[in-house]
Amino acid sequence: MRLKYVLSEVMVGLWRNVTMTIAMIITMAVSLTMLGASGLMYRQVDNMKDRYYENIEVSIFLKTEVTQQQRDDLQGKLKGDPLVKEVIYENKEQAYERFKEMYQDAPALVEAVKPDQLPESFRLRLVDPEQYKQIFDKYNSEEGIQEIVDQRRLLDKIFNILGAVQNIALVAAMVMAIAALLLVANTIQVAAYSKRREVAVMKLVGASNWFIQAPFVLEAVVAGLIGALIGFGALSLAKVFLFDGSLRDLTELLTPVGWGDVLVMLPLMAGAGALVSAVTAWVTLRFYLRV
């Protein structure tokens, strides 16, 4: 009975002030979409790191005039280095094969390059990829080395860009969340004002505090949940039309966005939406209703 009363109060409350309710839901939806997008981005970067860091190498390219002696010395040192897990030597021929494979879509480029022009290299796999700096410091001054390249550095640039986009989404989510928060506070105030007579009587006859507050808090929570659902819908549309649509080439090059990752965002968004609304409503009531 009491549950039915509370629920019907919630529905009446949402309808009574329908323009405000819609505004509340829209801002909530936009904010939560941004939150979901940044969460998705976070997972995406994580997935990419897992996938690419596995295969990451440090390449030491040798000078073209490197001597046999220098090469053997370097190989010996690298093999004995505790930081290095694995060393693979790649000669000019192998480098050329790889080059051909990488640029098979550009035969003109492959034509223009001769095996001689490509440098020999050592490809290292490190015990801990984070220790690139030590390797660099240790071998940079060795004879016969042209350049030491950490592939991780290249990937980190991509991750930094994704990280920046993620931060922008997060900031946007937060700014929208402030707007949503103020709208919730205002809606609850209006609702409390329109029910002030009922609230006064309830306080007078000794209705419990939760019973007085629940309809208002639930009103905000319902709006928050609807906002989360709309936000999730927007995120799903973004997956279908953006990630799998116009940005398909990019996402396939990096890592495709899976439905699993998108689905995980639903509880996150719903939880954030419901919690923010509930807390805001409750705090507003503490000030406004003084129950």
Binding site: V205, G206, A207, N209, I212
Partner: protein, 220 residues
């Protein structure tokens, strides 16, 4: 016990001491601003005294935590000058509302509400809205709402303030009947006619002090 409101130059109630027995009928009288209404607020735990203690139904409410207040209030009924009825609900619904919001079922309400409306003399008018009732009838609905939960104490803050003398007397008869069921009635008023007719205990307050406390008293 002393109560001073913030920003007030003098206490609303200054070192007042008064005890009311169970089942008594007490008038608090005095001019406007003398502190009569503050007594009601203290008894309801709407405000707390700055000094001294307020004990209601054997419980010290001075230090009562605010989350206990709702349950405490269920033992007190309250009637005001302005009735405080919900305009969009019928007489029946107004009384039933008071029961339902403290967790009583609709079945309980269906049994108890007609009974108490009959008691206050509103039999047959259950489904009228407040604006379809006279002032006296509205106050009866308010009394029914205050009494439906069978409180130990009924507080009445100038319940006849908006009513003509004849209607006022009817309301007083009703309060008297409720008092006879064993309910303590505390009534704040400055209606001398009523006080003089009822011949009950009178406590007179002036400028926050008790100047007279008389069994079977009259006004001034």
């Amino acid at each position: 016990m002393t109560k001073t409101y913030p920003k007030a130059s003098r206490p609303s109630l200054d070192d007042v001491s008064c005890s009311i027995e169970k089942g008594e009928f007490v008038f608090f009288i005095g001019p406007s601003g003398s502190g009569k209404s503050t007594i009601i607020k203290l008894l309801l735990h709407e405000v707390t005294p700055n000094k001294g203690r307020v004990i209601v139904n054997g419980k010290d409410v001075t230090s009562m935590r605010s989350w206990k207040r709702p349950h405490f209030r269920r033992s007190i009924g309250c009637v005001f000058q302005d009735f405080r009825l919900l305009p969009n609900r019928t007489a029946y619904e107004n009384v039933a509302f008071a029961l339902e919001v403290i967790g009583k079922t609709k079945a309980v309400a269906r049994r108890v509400v007609p009974e108490v409306l009959e008691l206050v003399g509103l039999g047959g008018k259950e489904h009228r809205y407040p604006h379809e009732l006279s002032g006296g009838e509205q106050q009866r609905v308010a009394v029914a709402r205050a009494f439906v939960n069978r409180p130990l104490i009924l507080l009445a803050d100038e319940p006849t303030g908006n009513l003509d003398p004849d209607t006022s007397i009817e309301i007083m008869r009703l309060l008297d009947r409720i008092n006879r069921t064993g309910t303590t009635v505390v009534m704040v008023t400055h209606d001398s006619n009523i006080v003089n007719q009822m011949r009950r205990r009178v406590v007179e307050i002036e400028s926050g002090r008790i100047v007279r406390d008389q069994a079977r008293g009259v006004y001034g």
